[in-house]
């Protein structure tokens, strides 16, 4: 068993509201290995991005880590000083933010913007070395070298997203957090970006957390899948295990609603989807009890403990493993 690059243990993150602390992330645990990739899937508002921001310690001012540990390369990121965190950020852990392609500065050449990221975090580097690294980053994300001098508006959306990826890789991080990196892009461009991400992640042996609402995308890129619902991780396992035998009713619903290009179209009228809508997220019971057909009184009362389906696959549902 390889040593974990990142181990998140029972992490809870809450937002301060007028009525107290609302947990957006509730006791989440997972690990990412060097060279491994974890896809965090769930609908919008389920806490995926909050986890990413929490790991980077970039939470909004009204949010804080309530409990739990984040062990990264031997340090607990929840307790290190802000100064130390600033050293870790981008050099050790970098992030591709959601819709970040719109965040490039329109009045600077893309080359200079990547160089800036390098110089800021590695001030000792010679200008020659910075230029060399910028060029090799462009090569990695497959942007022709003669576009280095261009401004962002001369790039298409897909190319701007590649620049953002190059920027995230600028300081050779060991962990990268990609938050919906392809959501606003077209299918063909999305596929190209996903392939680019897959390639560098394997070649550079980087660990990755890939956050997306789209199980199909995650299934294409990641070695592990974690399914989130209403702030909780409800299923975690190897990609194929989760896709082939989803144990949690919410995951089953996600897998069932994947539309494929199969020979025969899915019978839209017969497939059983969710019937109800999301109940109050934090009512204390299982987060999906309002839309689960197997829900019992116990499900409404408290959230189930983890059930191990295999050594690598666990589910938070008391009915897991039962025959339907």
């Amino acid at each position: 068993m390889t040593t974990a690059l990142l181990e998140v243990d029972n992490l809870s993150i809450g937002y301060r509201t007028t009525t107290g602390i609302d947990l957006a992330v509730d006791g989440v645990s997972f690990r990412v290995d060097r060279g491994g990739s974890l896809g965090l899937v769930g609908e919008s508002g389920c806490g995926k991005t909050t986890i990413g921001m929490g790991l980077m310690r970039l939470l909004a001012s009204n949010a804080r880590i309530v409990s739990g540990q984040v062990r990264f390369e031997g340090e607990d990121l929840t307790t290190v000083s802000e100064e130390r965190m600033r050293e870790i950020r981008w050099r050790r852990i970098s992030m591709i933010f959601q819709a970040a392609m719109n965040a490039l500065n329109p009045v600077h050449r893309v080359q200079d913007q990547i160089a800036e990221a390098i110089i800021t975090h590695e001030p000792g580097l010679s200008s020659h070395a910075v230029a060399h690294r910028t060029r090799s980053l462009f090569e990695l994300v497959k942007i022709p070298e003669d576009r280095l001098q261009d401004y962002p508006h001369q790039f298409s959306g897909g190319m701007r997203q590649r620049v953002i990826i190059a920027m995230a890789l600028a300081c050779n991080p060991s962990l990268i957090i990609a938050d919906e990196p392809t959501t606003a892009l077209d299918v063909i461009v999305q596929n190209q970006i996903l392939r680019a991400i897959g390639t560098f992640q394997k070649e550079m042996n980087i660990g990755m957390i890939f956050i997306s609402h789209d199980l199909a995308v995650v299934a294409d890129v990641c070695t592990h899948i974690g399914v989130m619902h209403a702030g909780s991780l409800v299923e975690y396992g190897l990609r194929q295990e989760v896709l082939d035998c989803p144990g949690h009713p919410y995951t089953q619903m996600l897998v069932n609603s994947l539309l494929t290009l199969s020979d025969e179209p899915a019978d839209l009228s017969s497939l059983v989807g969710p019937t109800g809508t999301n109940g109050p997220a934090m009512s204390g019971g299982c987060p999906v009890h309002t839309m689960c057909q197997n829900a019992t009184a116990a499900c409404r009362r408290e959230q189930a403990d983890w059930v191990a389906l295999s050594t690598t696959h666990r589910v938070r549902c008391q009915h897991a493993g039962e025959q339907p």
């Binding site: 609908e43 077209d186 063909i188 199909a216 179209p265 839209l268 009228s269 989807g273």
Partner: protein
Amino acid sequence: MNTHGSSPILSMTDVTKTYRSGDSLLGSSGSRVVALDHISLDINAGEIFGLVGESGSGKTTASRLIVGLESPDDGRIQFDGKDILGLKGRARREFTKQVQVIFQDPYQSLNAHFSIFDTVCEPLVIHGVGDRASRRIRVCEALETAELTPPESYLNRYPHQLSGGQRQRVAIARAMILEPRFLIADEPTSMLDASISFQIFRLLHRLRETFGVTMLFITHSLAAARNLCDRVGVIYRGRLVEQGTARETIMHPRHPYTKALLDAHPRFGCSNHHGYDTLLDVERPRPKNDHCLFYPRCRLAINNTCNLQAPKLKNLDAAHRVSCFLY
């Protein structure tokens, strides 16, 4: 499957629409953007026709032209055999009753200050249908049609109190309340999560089965088109490049662009992947003269043909048409 009528309820003939862009402060002369380039297609009564393409390919422009929000520069659009541009007065009002749209973003297409009742009822008010009591009944029926039950519990709520999926159902109820014959669904699920999208697809499918409403379904997802549509048209930069039954077009695509779209579709780690590999890694420069619009990206392009003229839409068989020099 295709037992629905086969007379066209909507037909577009050589429809072209250009927008002027970039009349900028810096004085550069504005350029013309061709949003639709001589599009011809027929949509038959009772079918679900999918228009598939990337953003900017002209899909939404097509829908805006059909409902008459904009007029084409050239070409003809006929609904029920009548040119929609010539419709005036009563005939025009009748047309706007029969053609309804579900827009892409339910977070923006619903007025935040309108209660759900007001939103769904508005078409009845505009067209002067019914009185207070009968409108309330029809609103409830429409909400039930959109599977928002019990309907009474939604009447006095506001969009911000609903989830994205519920909002889109409200938009569907609003579109269905006048019992239209033709429904345009413009990427109705692109803002929604997968499981919610699935429910919306199922609902659209039921609407067709129950009410026989004809649909133009606009999407960038071939998988959605495969599962919902009878026929599809693939549009690239304003030109129709391939058209056929959903099954034939997706299982046996001909145009290199359709193949590229299929290659890009997520595969869920499965191996039943075609690997058509029609897309160039580095694009060729775009020729100045007329050319196949896909030429700069096409690995299969024929030199001295594809870069010199634009291919015409050819019939491969009764149902399948493709615009490519390879065929």
